[in-house]
């Protein structure tokens, strides 16, 4: 399966772009959880998602990147913004932003982070330091084949899940059915 990559397709300045995009992702993540105004949070999340799409492109996953943009940034975030517009955010902005157990939550999260650190430090050798050769340049087709072959059942289940979600959302949000 391994194919020689054309020299032209080597990403330019990989290191820089990686730090730039992952930095953008993390900063926007911080903004998401700290902003008072949910619209600002959503805006930050959108930028984070786009940066992540860039990271996917760097990982030679263009299809996932495209799906990320089209579904996440173009679909789900519009839904979020729509709902934020519908609910009255004026009041929630004036209230206390963090709940009473915020310290416990923070500690738990930090503990989780510590766990990650331990795992990654200990298991560093599990992941080769260099990245493997890209599997294929245009792997969109292969993803399609896998989706409709190996993962056919999961795919159907996912479509069922979406159907259930549609019905559930309508039932929840409608005033009278």
């Amino acid at each position: 399966m391994q194919q020689v990559v054309q020299p032209g397709m080597q990403p330019v300045a990989t290191t820089f772009f990686f730090y730039f995009l992952s930095g953008l992702t993390l900063v926007s993540g911080v903004f998401v959880i700290t902003r008072k105004n949910p619209v600002h949070s959503a805006l930050a999340l959108i930028f984070g998602l786009l940066a992540q799409a860039g990271l996917y492109l760097m990982l030679y996953a263009p299809f996932v990147a495209g799906v990320q943009i089209i579904l996440y940034a173009g679909g789900i975030m519009v839904l979020f913004l729509f709902v934020i517009m519908l609910v009255n955010i004026e009041r929630s902005q004036k209230e206390e932003q963090f709940n009473k157990q915020w310290l416990v939550g923070l500690l738990a999260a930090i503990a989780l982070g510590a766990l990650f650190v331990v795992v990654y430090v200990k298991g560093k050798n599990l992941f080769p330091y260099r990245i493997a050769q890209p599997i294929e340049n245009s792997n969109t087709q292969q993803i399609g084949v896998m989706l409709y072959g190996q993962y056919m059942f999961a795919f159907e289940i996912a479509s069922l899940l979406l159907l259930v979600a549609i019905i559930g959302a309508v039932v929840m949000a409608k005033k009278r059915i």
Binding site: V39, L43, I46, G66, I70, A73, G75, L81, T140
Partner: protein, 426 residues
């Protein structure tokens, strides 16, 4: 360094694929500058054509026949006071037009103006285009919300609902065209023969597939290509919020919809984004169904003579424009007051004629031909947009939704299924 620059010219790929940063930069500049100019030209053309539909003259004062009107407008908009409502959310208000602008300009990264005339060619090209153009919904929603006013809010709600729901139908039509790249069933003219069976999402690949199969996808599987194209052509008007689907900015109902509170430069960014998006979706339609840069009648009028005839078109069309300009010069009033305008128009015509003559030269002729056909097809769509605007009343919101979900979407799914079946059977 010079080698680096010249080496690209001999290659037959886009600068993005060749990894040539210099030429990629040049292409980006040329494409974005060209789009901005095209938007200005479109602005003038729309006002002029609309005026003539409506037995008016349109802009006549600034430059001969108002040719400089877009520039005057741009200067006016730039120098206008930029008002931000007191209760508005400043940051979101500020960033919303930028999002729309970026979304509609980023699409041009993959638009293939010719086999090598694209900034780059992604192998998920069409997915990228749909995805990025769908981001402009975010800008619309934010603009409406940040204005903190009722009319923009309703406009934003309307337009986000509209854009999201028409995207679905649009996606169905696009998928059926993408499917055609891999299906080589015989078309109605018996021309759809090919060898390879792999489909592609790349914009250049889609046009090349049409080239290989010797058929525009519009005519492939005869009614199906037409229907899919029709669905896309309707959905793209709705997607760009233009008449008769211009509910989000329905001026008689919501004053100006989501950009009611915007003024000056920010407002002009919205307009720029809107027109750029119009050109972008038109180029998707051209790429998918009208053979992209491919010249008309590739299957029937073949042979060197026809190639030569069609390669003369760019020059001829510029000469025709020059001729129109000179007719305008002749019909200018012979009053000293109009002297500057007359000279200006004559100069404009001379420049057009000169360009036309240059385009006749053989090396130019072959280089420019692809771009010319692409642009000409897109221009046809632009004219359609103006025509719609002059002719149709506006849909009501529920009717619009009905058309999107109950008419276009089922037909789109049907076309998709039929295309797949036909492609396998034939």
């Amino acid at each position: 360094m010079l080698d680096y620059i010249t080496s690209y010219l001999s290659s037959d790929t886009t600068p993005g694929q060749a990894g040539n940063v210099f030429w990629a930069f040049v292409y980006i500049m040329v494409v974005f500058g060209g789009i901005s100019v095209a938007v200005m030209a479109m602005n003038w053309l729309e006002r002029k054509a609309l005026a003539h539909f409506q037995i008016r003259l349109g802009p006549m004062r600034v430059g001969p026949h108002g040719l400089l009107q877009p520039i005057a407008d741009a200067i006016k908009l730039m120098t206008k006071e930029d008002i931000i409502p007191a209760e508005a959310d400043k940051f979101v208000f500020w960033i919303a037009p930028l999002i729309i602008l970026c979304a509609s300009f980023a699409v041009y990264i993959v638009v293939p103006f010719g086999p090598t005339h694209a900034i780059t060619d992604l192998n998920i090209g069409i997915l990228f285009m749909l995805g990025v153009s769908s981001l402009s919904v975010l800008g619309v929603v934010m603009a409406g919300w940040a204005s903190n006013s009722h009319y923009p809010l309703i406009g934003a709600l309307r337009s986000s609902a509209q854009m999201v729901s028409y995207e679905v139908a649009m996606g169905m039509a696009v998928v059926s065209a993408v499917l055609m790249t891999s299906l080589h069933g015989l078309g109605p003219y018996g021309v759809g023969v090919g060898t390879s069976g792999t489909g592609t999402l790349s914009m250049i690949g889609i046009v090349q597939a049409q080239q290989e199969q010797h058929v525009w996808f519009l005519f492939k599987f005869f009614p199906l290509g037409f229907i899919a194209f029709g669905i896309f052509a309707i959905a793209m008007v709705a997607e760009t919020n233009r008449a008769p689907f211009d509910l989000p900015e329905a001026e008689s109902e919501l004053t100006a919809g989501f950009h009611t509170e915007y003024s000056g430069l920010r407002w002009s960014l919205f307009m720029l984004g809107e027109y750029a998006a119009m050109i972008a979706v038109s180029s998707i339609a051209v790429t998918l169904w009208l053979g992209g840069w491919y010249r008309p009648f590739p299957n029937t009028l073949t042979g060197e003579t026809w190639d030569l005839v069609f390669s003369l078109f760019p020059g001829l069309s510029f000469l025709a424009l020059a001729a129109i300009a000179f007719v305008g010069v002749r019909r200018m009033p012979k009053h000293p007051y109009f002297r500057v305008q007359t000279i200006g128009l004559a100069g404009f015509g001379a420049v057009l004629g000169l360009i036309g003559l240059i385009l006749f030269a053989p090396p130019m002729r072959d280089r420019v031909q692809d771009i010319f056909w692409f642009v000409a097809k897109v221009a046809g769509f632009m004219y359609l947009y103006i025509w719609y605007r002059a002719t149709f009343p506006r849909y009501r919101f529920d009717q619009l939704m009905k058309v999107g979900w109950k008419v276009l979407l089922p037909i789109g799914i049907g076309v998709l299924i039929l295309t797949a079946v036909l492609g396998v059977v034939l």
